[in-house]
């Protein structure tokens, strides 16, 4: 809480450095760079994608980093996805495959 009611004029003289952090993404940098395997969603198997309506979302529920969207179809933020594979393990439709990141990068080039 920032407060302008401080009536003590002398207090303004003191810079008072304190460790107060503000919310923001990427404290640990682009954690997508940690990834060895990239989760890729097969939309032909993904339940919400197939039904074209909200359903399942197990990947979204269990993703530790909250980088999967609860959308139809779900999308993955590769900027921050650490590649833990939980989504692939928990997907009831086996719709998520883990692909070698190096192969993906070469392909993208």
């Amino acid at each position: 809480m920032k407060n302008d009611n401080n009536k003590n004029p002398d207090s303004k003289k003191y810079a008072c450095h304190v460790s107060h952090s503000e919310p923001g993404p990427g404290d640990g940098g682009r954690t997508g760079s940690w990834r060895v395997l990239r989760p890729v969603i097969d939309l032909d198997k993904c339940i919400p994608a197939k039904r074209n309506k909200p359903a399942c979302f197990s990947c979204w529920l269990y993703c530790p980093d909250g980088v999967i969207t609860k959308t139809v179809p779900p999308t993955i933020d590769y900027e921050y996805c650490k590649g833990c594979e939980i989504c692939a393990e928990e997907c009831p439709a086996d719709a998520i495959t883990m692909v070698e990141e190096t192969l993906m990068i070469m392909e993208e080039k």
Binding site: P23, D27, W34, C63, P64, V67, C84, I86, A88
Partner: protein, 303 residues
């Protein structure tokens, strides 16, 4: 549990934890924290002692958490929550939840005195213990809640000789109105328990079993699966103790009257259990069977 159970479809979409934080890949705490903040909501002040959560929440000047949080010394979590509550009362501010969030060491070892004091005083706060069964942030040293026979960096050869401290039972013995257990593998169950805790005044305690890939020795892929196995084998039970009444919930409740998976199925998934032999495993299976025989009786209203 409340009649209206939360489902994946109606679990709030808004994320209160920023991505790109320093938690390990596949961190069980990350699942617990992300879900827990959804349940707590923005009108919450967090109090956190040193733990993996300190790292997850971010290094100055960037915070992964979007809630106001007071970082405090290791032994002082519940006392600091008390201070925040006192200040809110003094300022006449209502409608703000105070949630203390500590690891198993910060709860059951160094933090137990302040926690016990706060419960005795009846402070109106939620204390969430994420139990990853060792001091993970410092590199997997044994804690009071490390299970028997587990290999840690301070029980490296023979494994821990002593049993796991039953922290929820200690909390229940304070006579507080709400004690619950939960698991990283069952986020919706955790969510509903926190939502319920918010409606109860006085101290609330939620103990969350939290698999840790690095500390337990399994691939990050299996965090949820292993958490689920702990419940399915009957080793870790999901329950609520509301006003003194014990009740299994969710996946544990469904195990009543059914055959549970053998405990060695759980042990086989993690390198920390590699000190176990057949005899020790059999002894643990017997303890679990006895515990569940008691659960069956409670559920049947026999005792």
């Amino acid at each position: 549990m409340a009649t209206n159970k939360t489902t994946i479809l109606n679990l709030p979409e808004e994320e209160l934890v920023h991505p790109g934080n320093r938690a390990c890949s596949g961190c069980g705490l990350s699942i617990v924290y992300r879900t827990g903040l959804k349940a707590l909501g923005r009108e919450t002040i967090l109090v956190v002692p040193p733990s993996c959560l300190t790292v997850l929440q971010g290094l100055y000047p960037i915070a992964a958490t979007q809630l106001p949080c007071l970082n405090v010394t290791f032994a002082s979590t519940a006392a600091a929550a008390t201070g925040v509550l006192g200040a809110l009362r003094a300022r006449g501010k209502t409608g703000v939840q105070v949630a203390a969030w500590a690891g198993d060491g910060g709860t059951s070892d160094i933090g137990i005195q302040a926690l016990s004091g706060a419960c005795e005083r009846g402070e109106d706060f939620i204390f969430i213990c994420y139990d990853n069964e060792a001091y993970m942030n410092t590199g997997v040293q044994r804690s009071g809640t490390t299970p028997q026979h587990v290999l840690t960096t301070t029980t490296p050869i023979s494994g821990k000789q002593q049993q796991k401290k039953d922290m929820p039972a200690i909390m229940a013995a304070h006579g507080i109105d709400y004690v619950a257990t939960a698991s990283a593998a069952y986020p919706l169950d955790l969510y509903d328990k926190i939502i319920k805790a918010k409606t109860i005044s006085g101290p609330k305690y939620i103990h969350v079993h939290t698999p840790c890939p690095a500390g337990w020795g399994f691939s990050a892929r299996y965090t949820v699966k292993i958490g689920r196995l702990a419940v399915e084998t009957g080793l870790f039970d999901l329950y609520e103790q509301e006003n003194g009444n014990f009740r299994l919930t969710g996946a544990s409740q469904k195990l009543l009257g059914k055959k549970r998976k053998p405990v060695d199925e759980y042990f086989a998934t993690q390198t920390r259990f590699k000190g176990l032999d057949t005899e020790k495993t059999r002894a643990i299976q017997e303890e679990v069977d006895q515990k569940w025989a008691a659960h069956e009786k409670v559920a049947a209203g026999i005792c």
